[in-house]
């Protein structure tokens, strides 16, 4: 097995940040859609649509949205976790 570990920044993806929403938790409070409307959007009365990859320009908005979520359903990738080791 190759034991070389290559560390790459995700520049191939244009330095987009990643989120995932636990939609089992989400109860449609819509705080995120209010605080970061470019990333989160209500679809109907309580379903949430979101863009899983967003750019630096929306970073603060998304952080605020994640912090404000009453059920803490939004996982934003930690900066330190963005270094992703890729084994060859």
């Amino acid at each position: 097995m190759c034991d070389r570990v290559v560390t790459v920044w995700l520049e191939g993806q244009g330095l987009r940040m990643r989120i995932v929403v636990d939609l089992n938790r989400c109860q449609g409070y819509a705080q995120c859609a209010f605080l970061a409307p470019d990333v989160f959007e209500m679809h109907g009365e309580e379903a949430l649509l979101y863009d899983p990859a967003f750019t630096e320009a929306h970073r603060e908005q998304v952080r605020r949205a994640a912090a404000a979520c009453p059920v803490q359903a939004i996982l934003v990738e930690a900066d330190e976790a963005r270094v992703t080791p890729v084994g060859a």
Binding site: E45, A47, D51, A53, E80
Partner: protein
Amino acid sequence: MAVSVGEVVQAFRRDGRIVVVGASLAGLRAAEALRTGGFSGSLTLVGDEPDLPYDRPPLSKQVLLGRARADATTLPQRNSVNAQWRLGTAATGLDLAAKRLRLADGEEIDYDRLLIATGVRARPWFNAAEAALDGVFTVRTSEDAARLERRLSARPSRVLVVGAGFTGSEIASACRERGLEVTVAERGAAPLVGALGGVVGAVAADLQRQHGVDLRTGVMVTALEGDSGGRLERAHLSDGTSLDVEVAVIALGATRNTEWLAGSGLAAGPRGIACDAGCRAFDVQGIVTDDVFVAGDVARSPHPLFGYQFLSLEHWGNAVEQAGVAAHNMINVGPDRRAHLWVPTFWSSQFGVNIKSVGVPNMGDEIVITQGSLAERRFVAVYGFQGRIVAAVTFDQAKWLDFYREQIEVRAPFPPDYATVDRQPGGMRPVPAGFQDPSLPSHGATVTLTGHDPNERRVQFTPARA
């Protein structure tokens, strides 16, 4: 020289070798949990797809709507997973005795403990030549979704969705929202009938028709026909009719990725890999292994809350929870180990409605609407079996779901014996839930129930009522 169990565990956490097969949601979350749980030994993740772990639920929703890119659903990592990633390389075999994994490129990897999280794949159209026609799609991988999204952007004259389970219904919803003509062909009596039964299925059928879907139930697609250039142009149905279509999306459920384990000696087959509630795989003799663990869609494990029946759950939440339990148990022993006692939960959004479920609806035989009404398509439906609440399904009433989860956990009586917030004028009379005969093949259920553990007879649950 005596070595204590604690020392063995510490040594394993420091110097052990763990291999995770399957680099999707369950594999990633397990890898993270191994590291945060104190495992600092060698960790290898093997995945057949070339991509870093990505999220699949958006593929049939945001992505098909054109609001998120198919290649941009990469899952955020909770912590940096220091691991060897073997992406784009499928596992092809397992030698249990030698503790060795074989990969498609011929390489072999030795492990001390193995986690299998190889998941499922889309069940292909049964006729390979027809499946190869230009215009025939399945949706499971990000590449699948990217291809279909491109085709939808070209505005085909009509899309045929084969199968009205959750994925098929979500795809139909996305097509309608894009203003495309859609026909849905479903073998059962209604959409979602396999997972939610006929009462709720009838609501789903109304929802589809109201949104302009040409919904055809009780029919099967018998053949797909292409033109001389190999492009799909027509579908033939079991009622003798045919339909001009440019796109057909096959949404007939999933097949578990266990073929690579044939002959390995593990209890692996079309229904998944059997494991105990601590995620340890069974061998073919039904004896539990202690170094092979299973998590996610491919796992099949007994659930104490549901009569110890083996549950196969193709649920996002199950992958996350079971991966956490498996990872914990891989680096702990004895009483420190945990059981996977998660109550099944899932969601779907389609035609503007947020559908959520907790428990195991298709175990229920009766249903009662406790809040809201079917006519408004905004309700809580509670499912009962043998006098107990076994599931609840909400349409745009998600905030009640935690309450009903607790009801399931305490094995509360069915029908509910309390007044609910908006007491139903006609009282709460249960009616048959309308599930199909389970012996009929169905794409629809997202939970498969199989078998009973004989130990069930020794379980000491206190009945909530005599």
